[in-house]
Amino acid sequence: MKPVCDDFLHALREPAVMAGFDAETWDRVVRQARAAGLLGRLGALASGFSEQLPAAVWRHLEAALTLAEQQRRAVHYELRHLGQSLENTEGPVVLLKGAAYAAADLPPAAGRIFTDIDLLVPRAQLGETESALMLDGWITSPHDAYDLRYYREWMHELPPMQHIRRQTWLDVHHNILPETARRKTRPALFLAASIPLPGFPRFSIPEPADQVLHSATHLFHEGEWQHGLRDLVDLDALLRAYGGDAAFWPHLLARAETLNLGRPLYYALRYARRLLRTPMPEYLEASCPERPGRLAAALLDTLFLPAFASAHAECRTPLSGPAALALYVRSHWLRMPAHLLVPHLLRKAFKTDEP
């Protein structure tokens, strides 16, 4: 990571240092935080000592916090409607990531912004869920036949849906990894362990270890790294909150093994510790159920470390472009076997944006 980005990461690790930032430092940090979608997060971290920040800087952090607070209200409102739409469907409806953090007021929620609501339902309930949503005004955004097949046969989610009046975006998942992915997990166990959410009768959230595992899996299987650092900050917040209980860590390792998500957990722990100094027991990384070899780990460092810094142009290095491309290809490689992947990427490369 380039030295110009150190102050931003330092602020995320040790919020108190923000009180000592000079105006030149803030001039960089505010822009880097905005590009990474973390301005509201900095605001939440600094809210206890806002009077020690320059007034012109605090205005931006306060503005970002205001936006995050509006999104929190909007999610609560939307979940009341969604809960009614799904009242008569069967099985658990599990909120994932941003919506779960906001609805349950989990540690990553403070100052966080997000763009859609992610739900997980049992595969057997997928048709019923989609019908109930369509009856209440949720429509699938226009896709061509190829895109529809991509989602419905190969992916782990329905094509994104949008409510015709409220404009909210919704992703309905039936697995936390694509159907075609090399790695297989066990969504039924993930659903079975979910915890009912007080105040939202139709919804549950993943149990704490599963929150970490899902966030890690999402981050390290995605090809888009614009929000990579924000997702790592989520993981850091979850690990700091749950890690105070010594029993959490062995449970997390055991759960990763059960769900076959040891590798993404290893990456999450490695990069949270490297970039954000997340406190965790010394033995943990070495005890991960699925560690890469030394050479593979070194190679992945050269890809992941620049990618986490890639949101702002000033933090990019000459390696950022190739690293981003390599991660994009990697995400697809993990997502589908070669006989599906090669035609898919060719198609995406030559496809035009015609309606």
Binding site: A23, A56, V57, E62, T66, L67
Partner: protein, 301 residues
């Protein structure tokens, strides 16, 4: 010693713009980069009284420059960027200055959530601010231009910013955007008015900007208390008429025409309610500028 933009020679201004011109307008500092001669000329004409700064924290790092590739030479286009992010489609290169103005408005309207932001002009005289919400075509910018050329202080022609801590209005004092016929109307009525280049065929029609009075720029750190909300309406041959406007309707109008009323939630409601409580609300119909100016005198006294 503080330097104003007008103190720079044309060559110095170009050098500043190449590495970043550090300009302050009200509470915001913009670091403006541009190689466009239209941008340099527009700034020199319309912003001479604005103070420059050097280094420290800038609210927005922006750039207006030609797009690269073949369109740099063939029917050249320009782009607006906020810190490497381009929120708009490119425009013809000779619209660079209006693009800068719209871009600056966009920066404020989409980021300054620490204010309640209404889509309205706002002026002040004798310590009494008048807010002009005006829908498009209501003659809001013509009226605003005429008032500031007749001794009223300009706070803003588009963005009324209300401070969340004290409910006062925060000035920007930036140039007034004139459209279509209003450019000629203002030129005819106020021959001394300084108006920048005319941009033809923009998405808003013909556009030009009016230089804000020096006194308004000098007082851009002075907040103002709102006294009136006036909904102007220009109608051919109408006699000037000021009549009461329902406060309930004014509240709804401010709420629905604001940039961030619902985003602010409860705070938006409270700020808006306090604003409407302290203001008298009026419908204002006019056809002649001189009669309109006389009627506004009565609001300021």
């Amino acid at each position: 010693m503080a330097v104003n933009l007008g103190d720079l020679s044309p060559a110095e201004l170009r050098r500043h713009l190449a590495r970043g011109l550090d300009l302050r307008t009200g509470p915001f500092r913009f670091l403006i980069r541009s190689h466009s001669p239209e941008v340099a000329r527009g700034l020199a004409t319309l912003y001479p009284d604005f103070p420059l700064r050097d280094g420290g924290f800038r609210d927005f790092h922006i750039q207006v420059d030609k797009v690269s590739g073949p369109r740099r030479w063939y029917r050249p286009q320009c782009n607006f960027r906020l810190d490497h992010h381009a929120p708009f489609k490119p425009l013809p290169a000779n619209h660079a200055f209006p693009l800068l103005e719209w871009g600056m408005n966009w920066c404020i309207a989409s980021h300054a959530q620490h204010y309640l932001m209404l889509h309205a002009a706002v002026l002040e005289r004798n310590g009494r601010a008048v807010i002009l919400p005006g829908d498009p075509g209501a003659g809001k910018s013509t009226l605003t231009a005429a008032l500031i050329l007749s001794g009223w202080r300009l706070l803003s022609d588009e963005l009324t910013l209300i401070d969340r801590n004290d409910g006062l209005i925060v000035p920007l004092a930036r140039p007034v955007s004139l459209k279509n016929q209003s450019i000629e109307i203002i030129r005819a009525a106020f021959p001394e008015a300084v108006i920048g280049d005319i941009a033809l065929d923009t998405h808003k029609g013909t556009v030009a900007h009016l230089k804000p009075p020096r006194a308004s720029v000098r007082r851009m750190d002075e907040k103002a208390r709102a006294a009136h909300i006036v909904f102007p309406r220009w109608r051919a041959d109408a006699a000037v008429k000021l009549s009461r406007h329902s406060k309930a309707d004014a509240f709804i109008h401010a709420a629905t025409h604001g940039f961030n009323y619902s985003l602010l939630g409860r705070l938006g409601f409270e700020l808006n309610a306090a604003l409407i409580d302290t203001c008298e609300c009026w419908d204002f119909e006019y056809s002649r500028l001189d009669e309109a100016l006389a009627a506004f005198e009565s609001l300021a006294s």
